[in-house]
Symmetry: C2
Subunit: 390 residues, 2 copies
């Protein structure tokens, strides 16, 4: 009997938005391997390999390194809820969607939150952090976004980490859009808790959130007076499943773990340094091209993985994005918050960060903007990008 349902047939997009990024065929194939049980010896070995590779990508020796069974936002919530007890004080740095989200999460779980705010597109200054830590000496955790996906701002962390450590607080970092594409040195930078997502620079489908906790963060967890509010995200139980005890907690997303393992293997085969250099190289090519066209970057300190640019005068934001998708199958991201309708977000993450994609986007965008009658420097983008290639 023929199926009453159409065959699933999603289009092959060029994914240059804020995530998901393109997933290599090897990862999709690994994900389609036969499902085994979550306590099968073969799966336990895959978990072990996955956490070992995660440690390499996080550049950490942290024992408590694993993948949360949810997307990046679940990782954010896991970090907050395991470190914070009701009434604990937390400083959250807010300069975009994800700092705002972290503050919201912390407040929902009963933390007393002090915000450090900066304009969207800018970064948090060392002085702001120093002042906040001095004003709130009981701060248990300071949360900050390394790579603010909503604005493309790249937050320096090293100096801020020193201040946080000196104040005896814990540093919690959102590395959703940087891990695997930019430098994220968990141990060297003394990051105490960090989370990421699989669908950005790791180029794995969305669904898991790698996290890592330092020994200091683990000690804070163990000193809790109250149970972790979330059962699903309780790391004191999750670590017993990922650790040698293998105590059943929940049924792990087996095939997603296959995919993550494969994507991490690809990263380590390329080499983390090479990969970071590739992200930088393609960012610079894109930048040369778009700036030659006349487009301006939103943040002063830009990520190499996520490029937020102002929509040029005279261009219809939604219409241009829709034409890129319809005519070229290219996805780029819209602006959020104060940048809604005013910025585009071009992701060059993981497998998506290729010269081929950059050149295609430049050509397609130039063609559409010209056709739309937008005043740009015609013919300048490709030659400027080409010069940057050499």
């Amino acid at each position: 009997m023929p199926s009453q349902f159409k065959q699933l047939d999603p289009p092959q997009r060029v994914l240059l938005g804020p995530g998901p990024s393109e997933v290599p065929a090897r990862v999709l194939q690994a994900m389609a391997s036969p499902t085994v049980g979550h306590l099968d010896p073969s799966y336990l070995a895959i978990m072990d390999e996955t956490r070992e590779m995660l440690r390499e990508v996080f550049q950490t020796k942290n024992e408590l390194t694993l993948a949360i069974s949810g997307t990046g936002s679940a990782g954010m919530e896991a970090c907050v809820v395991n470190l914070i007890e009701p009434s604990d004080e937390m400083i959250v740095c807010v300069n975009g969607v994800f700092g705002t989200r972290m503050r919201d999460v912390a407040q929902r779980y009963g933390a007393t939150v002090h915000s450090i705010e900066a304009d969207w597109g800018t970064t948090i200054s060392v002085e702001q952090v120093a002042a906040a830590l001095e004003a709130h000496p009981k701060t248990k955790v300071l949360g900050i976004v390394h790579a603010e996906t909503s604005t493309g701002a790249h937050q320096p962390l090293e100096e801020i980490s020193r201040l946080v450590q000196k104040a005896g607080a814990l540093l919690l970092v959102d590395a959703v859009t940087s891990l695997g594409g930019m430098e994220v040195r968990v141990d060297d930078w003394q990051i105490d808790a960090i989370y990421s997502g699989t669908q950005k620079c790791l180029s794995c489908p969305p669904g898991l959130s790698p996290v890592s906790f330092s020994p200091r963060a683990v000690a804070a967890m163990e000193a809790r007076q109250t149970p972790v509010t979330s059962w699903y995200l309780d790391l004191s139980m999750l670590r017993n499943y990922w650790g040698s005890d293998r105590v059943y907690h929940h049924t792990a997303p087996i095939n997603m773990t296959y995919a993550l393992r494969e994507s991490l293997a690809i990263i380590l085969e390329e080499g983390l340094e090479n990969r970071i250099a590739r992200h930088l190289r393609n960012h610079l090519i894109l930048r040369a091209g778009l700036e030659a066209m006349g487009l301006k970057w939103v943040p002063e300190h830009s990520l190499t993985t996520l490029n937020a640019v102002h929509v040029p005068d005279g261009a219809d934001d939604a219409r241009v994005r829709s034409r890129l998708l319809g005519e070229y199958g290219i996805e780029i991201g819209a602006g959020l918050g104060p940048f809604k309708g005013r910025a585009w977000r071009v992701g060059l993450m993981g497998h998506s960060s290729s010269r081929r994609n950059v050149m295609l986007l430049l050509a397609a965008l130039e063609s559409i903007l010209c056709d739309e009658g937008v005043a740009i420097s015609q013919g300048a983008a490709i030659s400027a990008a080409s010069k940057q290639c050499c």
Copy 2:
């Protein structure tokens, strides 16, 4: 350069444990389709189809029907945290691991919990529920497990539902191990909130949790005085992404949704009634065979999807399971809690519920038990099972 990592090569198991169940090749192939963006028009159409099919499988018209981006336990937590505010009263029926877990979750989120307890392997009686509702007239939610995966007990719901409705409370049901394999009539049985998992009778890899809320449950959500504690599981935001507004919440697990859509299509092609009948048929064949061998069922009212049987005298629980896995690639489940070392749990769920698997298990188990010197009725299982087939 050759990879320094071994190729991922998980074994092809016969999955007869408490989940995951075997995943049809069609589902694995669908999951390996190209990843698109979570706001791509093609993906939004897939979400719409998925929720429409979920409604059919749940036998409901509930508008708020969707898949939570986590495993079944995340679905449990989502149901509890969206219905319960701190200090709300909840009755939880506890007769196994998953009732115990639901109570734990509710307590963590600040509910005042009243337990109805019954021995593991038995079901909750109508009288117990009536008495509890009378003793606790302010009860907002009564939570109960339809299919207790830890004991194989099958909980009747219809009479209990009438009592809960009459008391003005909401009925929350765990259908992780029954949805798609046994009758689960959400609208007819007046279930207000229900969750399941993808890796049981839906035969999709683990990673998503289908949930459905009745209009009464939605009204309770909308009457909340406090925000939902969990940001990740906040259905008031998730429904705006799954609904026509398409408001970004988190990056959906795209490829897992492909898999779920395909598994639901397979269910609806087979027909829900046919599928439920198949689960019953194979349960009866297994039952005839194991009982002829001399094994006894744990629960009086058994699920057809998950069969908990006592480990026969003289058999070494772990050794027999290990031999099944090592010599035949067959996974069955161990006992939990009071049944640890004393029961086996044989899942016949979704794609795993086939005559082929039943006959293989009977033959393999008989062979191993004989070899182990366990006193069973030799030669009786296959003939008893064969008679049941006709």
